[in-house]
Symmetry: C2
Subunit: 219 residues, 2 copies
Amino acid sequence: MTAAPHWVDRAPGLGGLDGQTRRQLEAIRPITIPKGHVLFRPGDEVTCFGVLIGGRVDVYLTGATGREILLYSITPGESCVQSTLGLLGEDDYSAEAVAETDVEAVMIPRSLFLSLLGTSEAFRTFVFQAFAKRLQSVMQVLERVAFIRIEARLAAALLERADDSGLVRATHQELATAIGSVREVISRRLEILSKKGLVSLDRGTIQVASRTGLAALLT
Amino acid sequence: MTAAPHWVDRAPGLGGLDGQTRRQLEAIRPITIPKGHVLFRPGDEVTCFGVLIGGRVDVYLTGATGREILLYSITPGESCVQSTLGLLGEDDYSAEAVAETDVEAVMIPRSLFLSLLGTSEAFRTFVFQAFAKRLQSVMQVLERVAFIRIEARLAAALLERADDSGLVRATHQELATAIGSVREVISRRLEILSKKGLVSLDRGTIQVASRTGLAALLT
DNA sequence: CGGCCTATGTGACCAAGTCACCGACGAATT
DNA sequence: AATTCGTCGGTGACTTGGTCACATAGGCCG
């Protein structure tokens, strides 16, 4: 039988590790986290540096009124930048992370994390690039929320989430959170899109009828 | 006569440099940039890692319509995280940086920057912490724009900018950009605040009359 | 069937942004 | 002093988006 590759080899950014670093990381056993579990909330103390091996974790910013907005999703091979923030800046978490699927992850303790940063160029690069990527993406979220109108953001979200047959499995609430709006607004927009024949609606799903029609709304 | 301290000693985060690193940095001569100069625009290629020694640089995100929102200000001792993004992530600038005062800065070439990251723990910490700080602050901007109503954001901006006597030197347009809104909305809000007796208005300045009154709007 | 949870629909209203234009002030020039 | 010009601020009409309160409606399970 062929053994599954070790998790270190399943994290794309972690190539080029020297032997010692690799052995230190290999010694850590991945843990599994059930779907729906909240990995951390605002105010939680940061104790580990998390690297995702399988599944998906969504990170949300929560407002005082309970409204939430999706900051980014963490996919396999990516690290949790919120942890980096906390470990380096001594701050607590300011966002909330939810396991959207069952999740497999590696938790690197603070002390090892800090030591690897000093000793391993490859590890450092991994952490830095993850950082850069997240800052970019948070800036993009800000740009969209601040400058792009709902119709365009919604169309983009639908196109992004549609599978091969054009089906989007999401509630209006989920779409609203993803683009930083509220359910009622999304419901109304979707109804307009459906009257235009661009989508058809069903409980829990949206069928994209015309990708080109939606794409025309992106400007 | 007493010589002014070298610029390396005027950058708070750069303590604890080893001798070699320090000498490499000391060899770079600061440059001066006149007030109003645009240091970079979206799409510009990143060539250097900038550290600010004196003055203030504001970094804005610009929307398609020309609307701008202040991402953060760079003050002495701080680095330009946009540069870090570009140097590590191979991306071009996505924001615009404007010298708000005459500015004194040190431009560290890409090659030296990358080499120092590998050889100097102190330099690495400096870069990382700057990174963490900016990501935090961009997330805060997003949180405010997405969740906090204009009145509270404006009150916060006024309190933050008021000098000892409560005077704020800013145009309505500047305040609007700082909090991610538009001039007309700010003008109207300010008029309401002035009718409530919390501020008095003049061309180019706002006099805060009641800090406690403004503070009550922050919730 | 009846309860219950979740998803969605809807009207009224409020908050914020857009557009177009006006007037007021001040500095520089004539 | 009068003219010109650029910046700053005021205003009305309108559109978009968010809030609140409540109404339906489907699906699941006892």
